[in-house]
Every structure is written in structure tokens, then in C-alpha cells.
């Protein structure tokens, strides 16, 4: 992985062997570009690139593509998230071309939360192709310079291709195999689901390293700092695919309510510290949900500043 595929900042950071640090930003529930720009301020200089979520949890928001364009204009590098729920292959390819033309260089290919979780559960879903095939599609467009039908693309989109991985979903034994398939499909980097169960993640990474997957792909460990014990409880109960150990909830509950946010950040910092040393982990993806203003502090205390 020496020659660059996309020339994105994230790709450069990773290929140079730096420990990557990426952030996340949800577009507004409206056309409030100003609100988005406020969030950008906190992320600028603290992370290598920022994921722009795509109608996350199936709640309608400003389009991720528009969010990415605003980010590029603001001098921040976006990671364009795309879900298979809302677009067929035509819309996907055209949005990929559009994103590239607007300066987007990273993409994250996702299936997407089912619409029943969102605010328009009556909607028809698409799922023309799945996330595995979306990875392969972006790769084909980039490496072969062709559309899915084989037609030539006039200026192919050179994307650094990302994929997600939830090491905590079932069946656990199959997760590493599914990750391997994503890498074979063309994923250059992986951002994992939020990690809370460190024991299970260590076990998972051991399997990844045993299979040599970390040498074929950069794996960024997902970290979400808990704001309080209530948030941990909520995520544990209501967010699909979350594995939050009781010990973590207990630790947050163990401190005074006022200090729970600080405790949450401490836990995240301890995790980041361990990830820095964990074999096979190439970086951290920080998902500070509606807590973007804490990112500079977390980055500072995690010792990942200045960014390369």
C-alpha cells in the first residue's frame, strides 16, 4: 500500500504509518449550514478526516453529500458515508461522481439502519445492492475507471474506500470472516462500531491479526465517550448491535453525576491508549455524538496532537 489510491489526507496519514485519528459529524435536521460550520470549528486540526453521516438511524437530515461539500469548502477533509437503504445503484454511482467532483476523497460504505428505527418508518427501502457490493462498486469505479455496466468513466472517482465492522454482532465467530470479505471486496480502511467491551475486542483483534487482515487494510477502532450513565444505559438497551458491559455502566454510576462526563472521557482516553499499542489497530475513529466541542480536548489529552 505504498502508492496512493486517492490522495486523501487520511490515506496519507495511514500509509505514512501514523496513528490515525478520525472524527464524526452529523448533518443538521434542516438546512442550517451555519450549525454545521460551528461543529467543523471543533474538529479542524484535531482529526485527520470527519465522517459525514448519511441519514443515520434512518432519521432524515441534510444530505451527507451536501455536508461533505460544505466541509471541503471549509478546509476540512470529509469521509462521505453512504448507505444502501436510500439509493439504488444509479443514484449511488452518480453521487459518488458528484462527491469526487466536489473534492471528496474518502467514502464509508454502509448497509444503513433499517427505516423502522427512523422518523419515516413508512418509507420503502431500496437495498438494490448491499454494503459489500457498494465497496466493490467504488473500487471498480476507481481502479477500472468503469461503471458497473462496464462503460468507461470520464474522470474516475479516486476514493479511499472505507467500510464498517461490528465485532460485537452475532454470530461472533463469523465476524472476522465477514471483515475479510469486505477487505477482499476492496475496503482500504475499516472503522469499527463503538467499542465498549474491550475483552471481546481484544479477542476479535487477535483473530484479525492471526488472519493477517491488518496487513491488508487499516483498522480504526471506534470510540464513543459516554456523557453519563444514562447514555450508557440507553445505548445498551436501545441501540442495535451495542455491547456495553455492566462494569462500564457501574463505573459511570460510581462517580457523582457532575463528574460522569469526565469519567466517560477518562474511559475513552484509556481505550485510546490501549488501541495505540494494540497490534493491528491503525488508528481511532472518535464518535463524539453531539459532543463535537469535546473533540479538541480529547485529542489533546489522548496525545494525538498535533495531527500530521
Amino acid at each position: 500500500m505504498t502508492e496512493t489510491k486517492s490522495g486523501s489526507n487520511l490515506e496519507k496519514v495511514l500509509t505514512a504509518g501514523h496513528f490515525a485519528f478520525t472524527g464524526e459529524c452529523g448533518p443538521p435536521k434542516g438546512a442550517n449550514a451555519q450549525h454545521l460550520k460551528e461543529k467543523f470549528k471543533y474538529l479542524k486540526g484535531s482529526v485527520d478526516c470527519v465522517n459525514m453521516t448519511d441519514n443515520q438511524t434512518a432519521v432524515v437530515r441534510m444530505s451527507s453529500l451536501a455536508g461533505c461539500a460544505l466541509m471541503v469548502a471549509d478546509g476540512l477533509e470529509p469521509n462521505f458515508q453512504m448507505v444502501c437503504r436510500d439509493r439504488n445503484r444509479l443514484a449511488m454511482m452518480s453521487d459518488i461522481l458528484g462527491a469526487y467532483a466536489l473534492g471528496v476523497r474518502n467514502m464509508l460504505c454502509l448497509s444503513g439502519d433499517h427505516q423502522s428505527f427512523g422518523n419515516h418508518p413508512e418509507a420503502k427501502n431500496v437495498h438494490d445492492i448491499d454494503s459489500m457490493q457498494l465497496i466493490a462498486l467504488v473500487k471498480k469505479m476507481r481502479d477500472e475507471g468503469k461503471f458497473l455496466n462496464g462503460e468507461e468513466i470520464d474522470v474516475p472517482p479516486k476514493m479511499f474506500i472505507g467500510a464498517a465492522c461490528n465485532p460485537f454482532a452475532d454470530p461472533f465467530e463469523f465476524r472476522v470472516h465477514r471483515l475479510a470479505t469486505k477487505i477482499s471486496a476492496g475496503a482500504d480502511f475499516i472503522q469499527t462500531q463503538c467499542i465498549f467491551n474491550m475483552d471481546k475486542f481484544r479477542d476479535f483483534m487477535k483473530q484479525v491479526v492471526d488472519k493477517g487482515l491488518h496487513e491488508r487494510c487499516y483498522i480504526l477502532a471506534g470510540v464513543t465517550p459516554m456523557k453519563n450513565a444514562g447514555m450508557a444505559n440507553f445505548m445498551s438497551k436501545y441501540v442495535p448491535g451495542m455491547d456495553i458491559p455492566d462494569s462500564l455502566i457501574k463505573r459511570l454510576k460510581g462517580v457523582d453525576k457532575r463528574d460522569q462526563a469526565e469519567e466517560g472521557i477518562k474511559i475513552a482516553l484509556e481505550q485510546i491508549q490501549e488501541f495505540k499499542e494494540m497490534e493491528g489497530v491503525a488508528g481511532v475513529h472518535l464518535m463524539a455524538i453531539e459532543w463535537e466541542h469535546k473533540v479538541p480536548e480529547i485529542a489533546e489529552r489522548a496525545g494525538v496532537l498535533p495531527r500530521p
Binding site: S131, Q133, L148, A169, P171, T181, P240, G241
Partner: protein, 225 residues
């Protein structure tokens, strides 16, 4: 078979509110097997409509009858002599029935009494489940005999998604994650390698996306063989 659910009485009664002579028409095909639109159900619905209208003080004449199949013109023609006697016909067949009827008898109004839901079967007495999405390009054998197009909420060809927990789909807590079942079956039979390659992009032209479908058997078009 095709599975259907009876519409609410409120909806059915609303459809025929201003009609005075109605025929409730059952079908001996799938809807009889799934206990929703056979002779028995037609008879009960006819009685129910009469009771409801008597209660409202707007008595109605309701007859009931069942055809061998409403998806076959050979049987739909059997209605020719009597269809004009009614000012509405309520079909208890799947969505195919009221259409075959409407096509053959353009002067009559046909109301659907059921909501056609899926292709499936009974997993226990009184419980039916979807098994097929009619995509027109069957690849069940690739997935251990379990169809992810019909049975995965996201129709994933490379599952399970991150929301699968303890073999249960994230969308409904009473729905099994079919991908969990596929993976476990492949593991148990030592064929996990079947799931590691990226599958070809599905060609949806054979499904409804390609437009209304038609199946032609040339040898039968010419005559019986």
C-alpha cells in the same frame, strides 16, 4: 402459497356502504388453505355484513359463493350468468382474483376483502411466514436453502448486518435473523468458504423492478400436451 389477511370489517363495510345487493366471492385456492377466503370465510363474511347492515337499519342482500380459482379464466367465466345480478362483488381471493374478475366483467365493481401479503407457508397452525420474494432468479442453494432476499429485512447478500443479536433480527424481536441461520448452517456443514466471496450484483430485471412479468410456455400456447 399466497398468504393474505382479511381486511377489517370497518374497511369492507365502508367499501360496500351504498350497495344493496352484494356477492361475497371466495376462492378455493391459496386463500382457502390459509383460512382467509374460502367457502367458510365467505359464508361468515356474508352473515357478518348482513348483521352489520341490519344493525344500521340498512338491510342488504348478500349472497356468497366460491370459485375453484379466481386466477383462472376457465372458472371466472362461471360467474357470467349471475354477475350482473349484484351491484357489487367482494372478492376474498388474493389480489389476482379481483383483477381477473374486473378484466372479464368490466361493468361490475369488484372490491378486495383481503390484503395479499406474501408467498409463504404455515410454520404452525395459524401462523404463516414469508419464504419467497418472487425475485425471478432463484439462488436459494447458495444460502444453505434459506432466502435472504425474502427473509432479510435489508435483502443482504452478505449478512448478517451489525444489528443481528442472538439470532434475532434488529427490526422485529420475533423475527429470526436469517443470516444468522445461514452462517450457522454453513459453519455446521463445513462450508463457510461459500460465504467469503463477493457475490455478483443482483439483476433485478427478473423481479418486479423489470416491470410486470409474463411467463410464456410456447408448447402450451399451441395447445395441451
Amino acid at each position: 402459497m399466497i398468504v393474505a389477511d382479511r381486511k377489517s370489517l370497518e374497511e369492507i363495510l365502508g367499501m360496500v356502504a351504498d350497495r344493496e345487493k352484494i356477492l361475497i366471492l371466495g376462492c378455493k385456492g391459496c386463500v382457502t388453505v390459509c383460512n382467509v377466503g374460502g367457502l367458510k370465510e365467505a359464508e361468515i363474511l356474508a352473515s357478518t355484513v348482513r348483521i352489520a347492515r341490519k344493525k344500521e337499519g340498512k338491510p342488504v342482500e348478500v349472497a356468497h359463493r366460491v370459485l375453484e380459482r379466481q386466477c383462472d379464466n376457465e372458472y371466472v367465466t362461471q360467474l357470467a350468468d349471475t354477475v350482473a345480478d349484484y351491484d357489487a362483488v367482494v372478492s376474498m381471493a388474493c389480489g389476482v382474483g379481483p383483477q381477473f374478475l374486473s378484466e372479464m366483467y368490466p361493468d361490475q365493481v369488484f372490491f378486495p376483502a383481503v390484503n395479499t401479503t406474501f408467498f409463504g407457508g404455515a410454520v404452525q397452525h395459524g401462523v404463516w411466514e414469508e419464504r419467497c420474494a418472487g425475485c425471478g432468479a432463484c439462488g436459494i442453494h447458495l444460502f444453505g436453502g434459506l432466502c435472504p432476499i425474502a427473509r432479510c429485512a435489508k435483502s443482504l447478500l452478505h449478512g448478517p448486518c451489525g444489528g443481528s443479536a442472538n439470532g434475532i433480527c434488529e427490526v422485529h424481536k420475533d423475527t429470526a435473523c436469517i443470516w444468522d441461520a445461514i452462517v450457522k448452517k454453513k459453519m455446521d456443514t463445513g462450508h463457510l468458504e461459500d460465504l467469503v466471496a463477493v457475490k455478483p450484483f443482483k439483476d433485478w430485471r427478473t423481479a418486479r423492478d423489470g416491470g410486470p412479468r409474463r411467463s410464456i410456455r410456447e408448447e402450451l400456447v399451441k395447445g395441451n400436451i
